[in-house]
Each structure stands twice: as structure tokens, then as C-alpha cells.
């Protein structure tokens, strides 16, 4: 919670005025007027709280954005569970599982990047964790590119050239439509994440973040972890539903 209201002096001055009076001995803050504190916030805590809450509201809209695709998945898979399982069996579980691990490691390095900023670690340390996260994100996209190429060469891209030798060609095409939409939207989020992180890395390099101000890293972390969560659901729902049929 924001500390502003509770710590504001109760001597009859409005809290905001008191906090902005730099050097007020009663406000209990070592940095009563941090250069990053915008004038419409009482203190750094309230400002950080507002930013993370705003990010969470955005993430809720993202849940609904991906939610529509998951809804379509549920409906079409319910229409033909066997067709979806047969189609899913042609995805490579090894690549999918490897990418899951890559994303989980990248979530760990992201959490460490936030922690590095939070503990006022050296810019080198902060940048190190951020760059590690970006490398892992790029590795994920690289694997995705290999997989997409494989689908193109095997005529598994929905459209006039889609070919299916199995029992359920129509559900298989629906499955691959959803596969490309869901993993494509997810990959787009990864690309945007890499872009945001490039900016954040430059800011970290320029010593912008310390224990008093690290909200941009924190908020980027929230976004990155959200993208990881989406994949945590995509991996089993796309790669594993036909796994017990054996290797393709």
C-alpha cells in the first residue's frame, strides 16, 4: 500500500504540500522529493503502486484478448477431440518443451533483473539480467521460426495448400489455424517484449534504476511474466493433447 497517507504529518498541513516541502524533517523520507516523483503523486510508493496497478489493468485486457482464442479452441476441440489430438500429434513435443523451459528460465532472469534494480545493484548487473532475459526470448523466437518453417514445408499451414493424410483433415486444419493464431499472437507479444526490454536495458545502463525508483523494470517484468503464463497454457493444450498416440 502507499505509505503517503499514513506517513504524512498530521499537524494540519495537507499531506501533499508537506511531502513536497523538500527537507521537511517530519515526513520520514530520506528523499522527500525524488527527481522521478511526478507532481500528482504523494510519494514514490504511491507512484509505484499506481503504475503496477495500471499494468495489471492492462494485463486483464490481455487475458481477455487471449481468452477469445482459448474460447475458440475449447469450442472447436469440443467439436472434434480426436481430430485435435491427431493434429496435435504432429507438433514436436521436444521443441515445445524446450521452449517452455527457455521461457521459465527467462522469467527467473527477469525476476532477478527486477531484484537487481530493487537492490540498487550495479548497472552492469541489472543490464546482465535484462540481456540474459532478452537472449532467452530471442532463443524462444528462433525455435518458433524453426517450427513454423517445418509446418510450411509439411503443408500444415491452413489454406489452399493444406494437406492432411490422417483421418480428420477438417479439424486438423482448424487446429493449425488456432495453432498459428495463438502462437503467432504470443510470439508478437514476445517481439514487443524484446522491444520494451531494449529501452529498459538502455535506461538501466544509464543508471536510471535503484531501490527508490525501479517501476519501469517492475512493470516490464509483469508483462514478461504474463507472456510466460500464456505459454504455460499454450504448451500442453497445443503440443500434448495427442502425445499418448506415440511418435508421429
Amino acid at each position: 500500500m502507499s505509505e503517503g497517507y499514513s506517513e504524512a504529518p498530521t499537524v494540519g498541513l495537507p499531506g501533499r504540500v508537506a511531502i513536497h516541502g523538500a527537507g521537511n524533517p517530519h515526513d520520514g523520507h530520506s528523499h522527500p522529493h525524488h527527481p522521478k516523483l511526478q507532481h500528482h503523486f504523494d510519494d514514490m510508493g504511491q507512484q509505484a503502486e499506481a503504475s503496477t496497478l495500471g499494468m495489471w489493468v492492462f494485463l486483464v485486457t490481455e487475458i481477455m484478448f487471449f481468452g477469445g482464442l482459448f474460447m475458440a479452441y475449447i469450442v472447436y476441440r469440443h467439436q472434434s477431440p480426436e481430430g485435435f489430438a491427431e493434429a496435435s500429434n504432429h507438433l514436436d513435443v521436444i521443441w515445445g518443451a524446450a521452449n517452455t523451459v527457455v521461457l521459465i528460465v527467462s522469467s527467473l532472469t527477469m525476476a532477478m533483473a527486477v531484484r537487481a534494480a530493487q537492490t540498487s545493484a550495479k548497472p552492469k548487473t541489472q543490464v546482465g539480467w535484462l540481456v540474459a532475459t532478452m537472449i532467452l526470448g530471442a532463443a524462444f523466437l528462433g525455435v518458433k521460426a524453426i517450427e513454423y518453417t517445418d509446418k510450411f514445408t509439411h503443408h500444415l499451414v491452413p489454406g489452399p495448400h493444406f494437406q492432411w493424410t490422417g483421418q480428420y483433415p477438417k479439424p486438423a486444419e482448424q487446429f493449425y489455424s488456432l495453432y498459428f493464431c495463438m502462437t503467432g499472437l504470443h510470439a508478437l507479444h514476445m517481439v514487443i517484449g524484446l522491444g520494451i526490454m531494449t529501452v529498459i536495458t538502455i535506461m538501466a545502463w544509464r543508471r536510471q534504476f535503484d531501490e527508490h525508483y525501479f517501476t519501469p523494470v517492475e512493470v516490464t517484468g509483469l508483462y514478461w511474466h504474463f507472456v510466460d503464463i500464456v505459454w504455460i497454457f499454450l504448451f500442453p493444450l497445443l503440443y500434448l493433447i495427442g502425445y499418448h498416440y506415440g511418435a508421429h
Binding site: M1, S2, E3, H29, S30, H31, D43, M44, G45, Q47, A48, E49, T52, L53, W56, V57, L59, V60, I63, M64, G67, G68, F70, M71, I74, V75, H78, V93, A97, T100, V101, I104, V105, S107, L108, M110, A111, M112, R115, Q118, T119, E211, H212, Y213, E218, G221, L222, H225, F226, D228, I229, I232, F233, F235, P236, L237, L240, I241, Y243, H244
Partner: protein, 103 residues
């Protein structure tokens, strides 16, 4: 421990434990998917994925130490998602039950 702007500082060891749990969850999902357990496959797969998502949200995304308001907003997102799934499927699955004209 709390940094100056009111954020909780999680120990590195906790992050490593969460990371380990996420990896174990991933291995568990892949191994279970190898066997045909009927409807249990879906239940296990989604339970493990939900547990993994919860760990990421609570610890990596710091919701465990966030304000009540953040809790409410985060849960509202998933609650609304369940409304989307629930209402859509209650319509979709019940079509034709009463032999109406809407089939």
C-alpha cells in the same frame, strides 16, 4: 524486508525454489501426457498449468506482497475469463436439448 518505495524484496532462494517447482511441473505435464488417462489427461494438464501460473503470479509478479486492490484486479481478470468460458459453453453444450427451432 521492504525497499524504500514500499515493495517487498524477495530472497533469491525463494525465486530459485519457484523456478524449480515450475520445471518440475513442466516435466510432470509431459510425462503424464505420455499416458492415455481419458478425461484425467485434461484435468492433470490444466491443474498443473494453473498451479504453475499461480506460482508465477504470486511470486515472480509479486502479487503475494501487493495491495488488496492488485489482488482484486488480477483475480477479476481470471474471473471474467471464466464467465466467458462458462456462459459460452453453457449455451453451446445445451443446444438441441429441448428440440427447439434454434438447432
Amino acid at each position: 524486508m521492504s525497499s524504500s518505495n514500499g515493495h517487498h524484496l524477495a530472497p533469491v532462494r525463494l525465486y530459485l525454489v519457484i523456478f524449480g517447482a515450475l520445471i518440475v511441473g513442466t516435466i510432470l505435464t509431459v510425462v503424464v501426457a505420455k499416458f492415455d488417462l481419458g478425461p484425467l489427461n485434461n484435468i492433470v494438464m490444466l491443474s498443473v498449468a494453473s498451479a504453475k501460473a499461480l506460482l508465477v503470479i504470486l511470486y515472480f509478479m509479486h502479487v503475494r506482497w501487493s495491495s488488496r486492490l492488485t489482488w482484486v484486479v488480477a483475480s477479476a481478470g481470471f474471473f471474467w475469463l471464466l464467465i466467458l468460458f462458462g456462459l459460452t459453453m453453457s449455451d453451446y453444450l445445451s443446444r438441441g436439448w429441448i428440440g427447439g427451432t434454434l438447432r
